[in-house]
């Protein structure tokens, strides 16, 4: 009994320490910005906002933190470890479904980079029904699974009409032709695979779900309702600086300067790959000169939520459109 009491006291102590270590993070002067993924070309604007002095010019002391598979910006917002972050639309919708106070400030990708790559020698996918009989890779649990399910449903196909292969980080099954159609991030892995196959004399095509009416929103800049309420001026200053940096980064005239800054943080990618990645990223972030970077595609967000409800990834409507604040 005494032992039990000691264990309970120790647990309470540890819990209290953890709770205390979380709370003070809410009161800081440095602004923490948590990215969704590692430093690479797809976060060119975020890198430039820091390295190009955009945040500094706005009077902000911003720490741009690299993301990764285990990092979740929305959770960090709630825990007070981040003030702003980048999250995909599905993360935002899931978080809202579970009561998180998350607000979307800008939609970075106007076209979702999540696409599928396949060899040009294979029959071209001109209509969704052309997927029938194909061996398609999907990451179970990932966005691509949700998107592919939607595409198949739209085509009137089921999993019995196609052959689905589970996909992970290793491209070998695609390179060995065991899987025909492979999910990639168009502006990062897509460029690398395209280059790899080109060296073997093979050309590729990309299958973009948006071309078939499935616009599943990708990365967006988010914050919490509390941050907006407490310091709306800071939010405005942060977003103005960040969007200016993205505009600068996506301007072909600044290509060399931007590539040089990316190179400092992404040393393992070859120069020619990085250059092509930047070109593709530009098309996904700013598909044409008339598009303002950060524009929130309201209809696409609503479609994303509808897809997730259909896929039973959320219990019911979260009315994501009410959380698209812009800035």
């Amino acid at each position: 009994m005494k032992m039990m009491r000691k264990i309970l006291i120790a647990t309470a102590g540890i819990t209290l320490c953890l709770a205390l270590s979380i709370s003070p993070a809410f009161a800081r002067d440095t602004v923490n910005y948590r990215l969704k993924w590692l430093f690479n070309t797809s976060v060119a604007g975020d890198i430039m906002a820091d390295a190009g002095g955009f945040f500094k010019a706005a009077g902000l002391d911003v720490k741009v933190k690299e993301g990764g598979p285990e990092k979740n910006a929305i959770k960090e917002l709630e825990l007070g470890y981040a003030d702003f972050g980048v999250a995909s639309a599905d993360q935002v919708i899931r978080a809202l479904d579970k009561g998180a106070d998350v607000v979307v400030l800008a939609q970075l990708f106007q076209i979702n980079p999540m696409q599928w790559i396949y060899r040009s020698e294979l029959p071209e996918i001109k209509r969704l029904v052309d997927l029938k009989g194909r061996n398609i890779g999907v990451t179970f649990g990932g966005n691509d699974e949700t998107i592919m399910n939607t595409l198949l449903a739209k085509a009137g196909l089921t999993y019995n009409d196609v052959s689905i292969s589970s996909v992970r980080f290793d491209f070998t099954p695609f390179l060995k032709k065991k899987v025909e159609i492979w999910p990639v991030y168009r502006n990062s892995q897509g460029v690398i695979l395209e280059d790899k196959l080109a060296k073997e004399g093979e050309s590729v095509r990309f299958f973009n779900p948006a071309d078939y009416g499935v616009s599943f929103v990708a990365n967006s800049v988010v914050t919490s309702g509390e941050v907006i309420k407490k310091n709306p001026e800071r939010v405005k200053a942060f977003m103005t600086a960040l969007m200016a940096a993205w505009e600068f980064s996506m301007d072909p005239a600044n290509r060399d300067e931007v590539l040089a800054e990316i190179k400092k943080r992404d040393k393992n990618t070859a120069d020619h790959i990085r250059e092509r990645q930047l070109g593709v990223t530009r098309l996904l972030i700013k598909p044409n000169a008339g598009v303002k970077i950060g524009t929130i595609d309201r209809a696409a967000w609503i479609q994303t939520e509808t897809i997730m409800i259909k896929e039973k990834q959320v219990k019911g409507p979260v009315h994501v459109e009410t959380r698209l604040a812009g800035f």
Binding site: T15, S23, D101, R168
Partner: protein, 255 residues
């Protein structure tokens, strides 16, 4: 032994859950960061049966992987017990190889074996194997001087007898190490499933992680904990029985 293992696990799990709930309500976190009890209950109702079969699937690979690693560890342990050049080479090789993280070797394994059952089995065996090997090497390399001396002096010592003497004299250590390695084999299988397979609880955890479903992960952890406790409890009971069988009966002679 079996029941003690189960209720010890339940105490740890309940305390950990209570700690999480305390943090959740103290700081005021949403269900997205730390799921509430109601969400965990609801998730458990939805996924428990599927996760149970996933854990059983993982356990089947674990048992096989552990068996392979025990055989490998004893083979290498027996070969490397001598202080000869070969024995010392095997020992050094075993120590060095264990320094490599299995996750780093995983891509090579996937390329050679594909991402399926064999990769899971190999990674499970490797993670379980090294700690086992070190214990077996240590035991097999330490002479039981007062007993072995007699057989050496009478010229009756053979390698099989030497192994038997050392194993018998360290039976408690060996059974403890083998029972303990069950958790390592399970962890190895889960790691392999997490990065490679299309089945098992590690695969399900990966999917739950993709969807930020912490409630699902907590349910999976419960399933893993309870089933590994039962498995470990069974191994310990088996070890106890073996010790009793091998030990000399009161007032009798050694079998």
């Amino acid at each position: 032994m079996l029941f003690r293992r189960i209720y010890q696990f339940l105490i740890v799990y309940v305390l950990a859950l209570a700690g999480l709930m305390a943090i959740k309500y103290t700081v005021g976190l949403s269900d997205y960061v730390i799921p509430g009890l109601e969400l965990i209950r609801e998730t458990a109702g939805r996924v428990a049966s599927g996760y149970f079969f996933d854990v059983m699937n993982t356990l089947s690979v674990t048992v096989l992987g552990q068996l392979i690693s025990i055989i490998m560890a004893f083979t290498v342990g027996i070969l490397g017990r001598k202080s000869s050049w070969v024995g010392s080479f095997i020992k050094v090789m075993a120590y060095n190889i264990q320094a490599y993280p299995i996750v780093a070797l995983a891509p090579i394994i996937f390329i050679l074996l594909g991402d399926g059952f064999l990769s899971r089995l190999l990674i499970a065996s490797m993670i379980c194997y090294f700690p086992l090997l070190l214990s077996v090497l240590g035991i097999m390399a330490a002479p039981i001087t007062d007993i072995e001396h007699f057989y050496i002096a009478t010229g009756r010592m053979r390698w099989q007898l030497e192994v038997k003497i050392r194993a018998f004299e360290n039976l408690s250590k060996l059974t403890t190490v083998i029972a303990g390695s069950a958790t390592l084999a399970m962890a190895g299988t889960i790691v392999a499933e997490f990065i490679a397979a299309d089945a098992g609880i590690g695969y399900s955890i990966r999917i739950a992680l993709y969807q930020s479903d912490l409630a699902g992960i907590l349910v999976a952890l419960f399933m893993i904990g309870i089933i590994i406790s039962i498995y470990q409890g069974m191994l310990e009971t088996l070890g106890e029985q073996m010790k009793t069988k091998w030990s000399a009966p009161k007032g009798g002679e050694l079998l």
